[in-house]
């Protein structure tokens, strides 16, 4: 199995502030872990450098006004889009490079130069809307890549975006809300307890896109078994019925139990199992075409190095039996079940899907 890892050293440039949770050590610690593991020396893994996304590609998703504003603010040396989303001199370049990384990953998978691809970029993108950004996101990298791929390749009509970030993908949901050619599904910590406060079950899409947006908000502390049940009982059946040409995972690693800004209970092993399910699903529905892109994840010491390694190893088909957190980190003992939300999703989406 060949896996391409898309990374650029310039992904380390942008910084909100040195202690902001979305900081460069998120990638540095993971790169250290992968280098020390010898991941990049393995025959089945290839490390590639992306180019920045074109302005034309960005303009398929974002409004000219917003792009101008972002570019101008960054060129000027800084500013902010919201209380916690700061623009730096590097933001414009790096956001384009992050979007370009996702484009590169999708292209290489569709063109079969690799079997799957993991994009390790920052900043993330799923909270970016057509005309604004917040939640540490500036450009919606996933949307830029999906549009670019749909435009460039006749063989890609339908794309599945499966977002397992702890936060609801408000930007992505809105961009594709009335578009049936992109099935968007998110499992996240309920908006009652976490930013951005959206993502309820009844947000199902509109117009032609009605039924093509699936939200599964889970309770705080939900862990591996809850997440796996959501995958089995909601995502897999809907995805199989939809039968996409490309499976895209928005791989937010902030469901990890050590994450400082969320309150969930997923372990590195839980991430491993979710990614294995995604790999199997892609085998069945899209000829194995699978792209994953790092989204959130702020447990830079106890979380990211291990969750990212678990995800990468699963995608590359490596032995994952020794991938876990070191013993100094222990997941929460008591975890809520997902019975209620799964039942609610099933009844709400009953008219669109065979659940």
């Amino acid at each position: 199995m060949t896996l391409e890892i898309v990374y650029h050293d310039d992904y380390l440039l942008h910084e909100h502030s040195p202690t902001h949770p979305e900081r460069r050590e998120r990638l540095m610690y993971t790169m250290d872990q992968m280098q020390e593991e010898g991941v990049f020396d393995l025959d089945m893994v290839e490390l590639v450098e992306p180019e920045a996304a074109s302005e034309e590609a960005l303009a398929r998703v974002h409004t000219p006004d917003y792009l101008d504003r972002l570019k101008e603010m960054s060129m000027r040396g800084g500013g902010s889009l919201s209380g916690d989303t700061h623009v730096s001199e590097h933001t414009w370049h790096q956001s384009r490079l992050a979007a370009g990384g996702v484009v590169r990953g999708c292209r290489d998978v569709v063109e079969d130069s690799c079997e799957s691809s993991f994009v390790m970029a920052r900043p993330g993108g799923h909270h970016a809307f057509a005309d604004r950004g917040h939640g540490f996101c500036f450009t919606n990298n996933t949307a830029v890549a999906v549009r670019e791929i749909q435009e460039s390749y006749d063989e890609v009509d339908r794309v599945l975006v499966w977002d397992w970030d702890a936060h609801h993908f408000d930007g992505t949901q809105e961009i594709f809300y009335s578009d049936p050619s992109v099935l968007t599904m998110s499992v996240h910590q309920t908006g009652r307890t976490l930013f951005p406060g959206t993502g309820y079950v009844d947000e199902v899409g509109e117009d032609e896109g009605e039924g093509f947006n699936v939200n599964v908000p889970v309770l705080p502390k939900t862990g591996d078994s809850g997440y796996l049940r959501v995958v089995e009982e909601v995502f897999e059946p809907v995805a199989r019925e939809y039968d996409p040409d490309l499976v895209f995972v928005e791989a937010g690693q902030d469901c990890h139990f050590t994450d400082p800004i969320t309150d969930l209970g997923v372990t590195a092993d839980g991430y491993r199992r979710m990614m294995e399910r995604a790999v199997d699903l892609a085998e069945d529905v899209s000829g194995g075409d699978l792209v994953a892109s790092l989204c959130g994840g702020y447990g830079i010491e106890g979380g990211l190095p291990y969750t990212n390694l678990a995800v990468v190893a699963s995608m590359a088909g490596l032995d994952t039996s020794n991938i876990r957190e070191p013993a100094v980190y222990q997941p929460p003992q008591r975890q809520p079940d997902v019975d209620d939300v799964v039942a609610k999703v099933k009844s709400t989406h009953d008219e669109y899907w065979n659940l």
Binding site: T19, R23, N322
Partner: protein
Amino acid sequence: MIVGVDAGGTNVDAAVVGEDGVQETAKLPAEDVSATVLRDLFREISDGYTVDRVVVSTTRVLNRIVQDRLPSCSSVLVPGVGLAVEHAFAADDNQVVRGCIDHRGRVTESPVVDAEPRHPVVAVTAKFSPRNPSVEEEVAEELEADVVALGHEAGGRLDFPGRAATTAANARSKPAFQEFREAVASATEDLSFNAPVYVLRGDGSMVGEGKASDAPASTTRSGPASSSVGLLALSGERDAVCVDVGGTTTDVTPAVDGYPLTREGYEHDGFSTFYEGVSSGDLPLGGDTRVTEDGLARRREDYAAAFGGEAPAFTDALNVLGAGVGDTDASETAFADAGLSEADAETVVEEYVAELSDAVESAVEEAEGSPEVAVFGGALAGCLSSRLEEEVDLDVVVPEHADVCGAVGCAAAKVSVRTEVHVDSPRGRMTVSSVGSRSKSVEKGRRYSGEELHDVVVEETVEETKAAGGDAGVEDVEVLDVRRFNVVEDGKVEGEIADAVARVKPGIRWL
């Protein structure tokens, strides 16, 4: 004066080099270089000179590898969590010890040493040990072993499987290297040299003998490194193919812009390292290569008859054709006794030159066509150069003292110690390792910019180079790697951990 010593597989060469170039040279046949041999050699050349430093290159480790004479080793691994440990299995006995160091160098699971190595030669390698050597030290202390190599001493880079293999290679190389080191120490002591001893690594850089003993597998390509540096220094050529004919092999090394090309890693039959070394192609053919009725036998049994062996070898074939090297009568007799004729001699010399010219041409290709000259060294260079010149599209030169080019190369190599700086500012500590290792304190919690760290490692490298007898300026330092990250605890930046590696660019004192 600088004394250069090149201990090859069959001969040991020495040269005294000073401001005015090569002063003295000597060559002695020796298969295993003993203190006695070195003492004789030093006595012959050093009389009347003040010796400032001794620089040695040795193929002892390489010879033992090729002859399959290195001891087996037990590799004790502390993989912590992560990919399957089998990726790091590099020895014929691999044992796994529980314990874990994380990317920050914190011990996140204490080691539990229940390994029982099968061999007395042991390598201990922990994941992330360059960030915290204590676990390897602790494990090594609890093992019963005669020889121990530690992963963090192999070099600071992050690559657990590569480091495990390199550490095993170091452990296996230690006994052979230690014998050589003791022989050198005893010979220099007897002659009251009172000068520091340096060892040439395979990339032509130089380290103190103590540091070299921790990582002797880094010397595996020091033979072609010393000879190519010597040939460049003697000829003044900057773009060339360097050819050194030895007793057992012929090394062919391309050089561009005044230095041999290098490549990373060495691998031979289960012995593998991540060290950089000169990019040489070795023909398994040299002056002692046995000649039979089937031609060149591609192996060495003994010296050529011209130098005291019994059976005919390649040098003897050259003598039969009139080369005049060593005892030519012995060569004639050996050839006749083996039922070989002058025509047979011509055939093997042509066979050799054909293989050599292929190797020279691929070296030109590797150097992307820039060399226009082949610089030829070794005792047989003089009698082969015109034949080579007929076959290749290059001028072939044999500089003066080319017969001891390896020894000259040791003396002509610039002092180029490699220096590693590790800063742990939350703990207020900086460690500088090069020839030795020293610690100093830094302001607690200090954060460096990339530039500041760059400057720190450059400064330390210049200082270490001076201490080692070199005279590098800031402009000679090449920074190989700078990595730094903030240590954030409870949302507060507590300082940073940084690693920087630099070296004085290996270079040549042109003679």
